[in-house]
């Protein structure tokens, strides 16, 4: 998937070589020019490495994307999509609390801005849809999940990200320690597509992947979950569904 990165709406960069005073604040939703100054506290070596993309909506990470950024120590930026060999995309650098990416052939003013979240994450936010962002997680910070983490019965809650209204699933997902899962209906009339009632699972990094015989297009056919501490989060770019072990 090709991802577009747009400037954070609150920032217009002015690299004049030295810091300048920022302008007065406007209202909450209007861009405010702010000058960034490189204080030199962020070192390239601290952010060089492999970074894996995750989809974030309304401040919830809900999907793992097929995109990997490779940031080299000498400032080169590569992208690998879906496991393909990395392609050089441009260059990168750090300024203050931001990481800037410049596509090949682009002018300085077209650098893309990512906000450093912490030492293992940086974030790129959509300018037109500020509730959407892509978070990059350091590849070495992704822990391999273990079967004992998910063994048991799970009930799910769907939360509307905008209204925050919740509703609970009328079923449980049960995972055993041998790589198998089953579904228990809590409401007998709830329709589970044929072939999805049972199957197997594998854990790849922080993702639990279900395999079954379901042929009906939809979430049950290629269901995946992200491991997030005590929760399973449905891997989806629409909505936010999290599971809690019962």
């Amino acid at each position: 998937m090709k991802i577009r990165f747009l400037l954070l709406p609150a920032l217009l960069l002015a690299f004049a070589g030295k810091a300048e005073e920022g302008k007065k604040a406007g209202t909450e939703n209007t861009p405010v020019p702010v000058t960034l100054k490189d204080t030199g506290i962020r070192k390239v070596k601290d952010y060089a490495g492999d970074w894996i993309a995750y989809w974030m909506q309304y401040n919830r990470i809900t999907a793992k994307l097929d995109t990997k950024f490779i940031l080299t120590q000498n400032g080169e930026w590569y992208v690998s999509i879906d496991g393909a060999p990395p392609e050089k995309k441009g260059s990168w650098r750090l300024v203050d609390e931001f990481l800037l990416l410049k596509p090949l052939g682009a002018a300085d003013k077209h650098e893309m801005l990512a906000k450093l979240v912490d030492r293992d994450h940086f974030l790129m936010q959509s300018e037109t849809q500020p509730n959407l962002a892509v978070v990059y997680r350091r590849a070495t910070a992704i822990r391999q999940g273990k079967p004992e983490q998910i063994q048991g019965s799970w009930r799910f809650t769907e939360q509307d990200p905008a209204t925050r209204k919740k509703r609970r699933s009328p079923f449980l997902l049960n995972f055993d320690g041998a790589g198998r899962y089953t579904v228990t209906l809590l409401v007998s009339s709830f329709p589970i597509p044929k072939g999805a009632e049972a199957g197997t699972y594998t854990i790849q990094g922080d993702v639990v992947i279900l395999k079954n015989r379901c042929q009906t297009p939809g979430i049950w056919k290629d269901m995946k979950f992200l491991l997030s501490f005590d929760n399973l989060v449905l891997d989806s770019r629409r909505g936010y569904v999290y599971g809690e072990k019962q």
Partner: protein
């Protein structure tokens, strides 16, 4: 004529106020530190938090437009063990003693801020407690996306007192269960060196214990996933209705604090 104070005298002043205002009912002895009013982080906060976040100079301007802000005096009030212990065993809403600390212990903190300002002004200095000033002015926390004009935790970070955790609490040498107070002044005091450098999350081990404790599902694997509206909404829906029957007093924040207790960073740096 100005009375001159050194760092030790200011620390003693703060500790004296902690005792005089009844702080010992809720807190252990405070940690006190100083930040430079010109620290770069205050400029960065205008980007990271919002342009509405005051620099120390902007805050002091409300007290005395002629004065030049030089220092920020910051203190941590670690919550007492008996209160933390009571909250540790809760899983849904705060213990009564925790809520009392949040309500009345914060009044102690407000008194400390106010009295320190008065003492400094009596000695010829300009002084303001930005948090009290923003309360006086009023602000719409929802419109500001659950941020404010002055974050006590962010200034404590600048003063070398702690770093942030996934819960957005500040992990100090005395842990995350604590309250923060600060005063900006034109008295020059030596700024503390930050033991963690410039890593705002240096002392968080990302263990996720706070996420597991949170009944509101408001803490995730990254700082960005901290869901302040969900946290606030949980308190409104689940804690506040118990105000009369369980807690027994009106007004004042009851808090929750489950993410600050029963976690490895509760009362010490993990």
């Amino acid at each position: 004529m100005r009375v001159s104070y050194n760092a030790e005298q200011i620390v003693e002043m703060v500790k004296n106020l902690y005792r005089a205002t009844g702080g010992e009912s809720y807190y252990d002895e405070p940690l006190v530190s100083f930040a430079s009013a010109d620290d770069e982080w205050y400029r960065k906060y205008k980007t990271l938090i919002g342009p509405f976040h005051w620099t120390p100079a902007e805050a002091l301007h409300f007290d005395n437009p002629e004065a030049a802000a030089r220092s920020v005096i910051v203190w941590i009030l670690p919550v007492r063990e008996s209160i933390r212990k009571a909250n540790r065993s809760e899983t849904r809403i705060p213990a009564v003693s925790w809520a009392a600390m949040r309500s009345f212990g914060e009044l102690v903190n407000e008194n400390m801020r106010k009295q320190l300002c008065l003492l400094l002004k009596k000695s010829g200095y300009a002084a303001i407690a930005p948090h009290l000033e923003q309360l006086r002015q009023g602000y719409d926390i929802v419109k500001m996306n659950f941020c404010s004009h002055w974050s006590e935790r962010h200034t404590a970070f600048v003063a070398g007192l702690g770093t942030f955790g996934l819960s957005a609490g500040l992990i100090t040498e005395k842990g995350v269960a604590m309250r923060v107070g600060s005063v900006v002044t034109d008295l020059e005091l030596p700024p503390a060196k930050r033991p963690y450098g410039d890593d705002p999350f240096a002392w968080c081990t990302r263990c996720g214990a706070c996420a597991k404790r949170c009944p509101a599902h408001a803490i995730g694997k990254t700082f960005e996933e901290r869901d302040k509206p969900a946290c606030g909404a949980y308190i409104v829906a689940n804690v506040n209705p118990e105000r009369e029957k369980r807690y027994g007093w009106m007004e004042l924040n009851l808090g929750c604090g489950l993410c600050q207790t029963g976690v490895p960073c509760e009362h010490k740096r993990p």
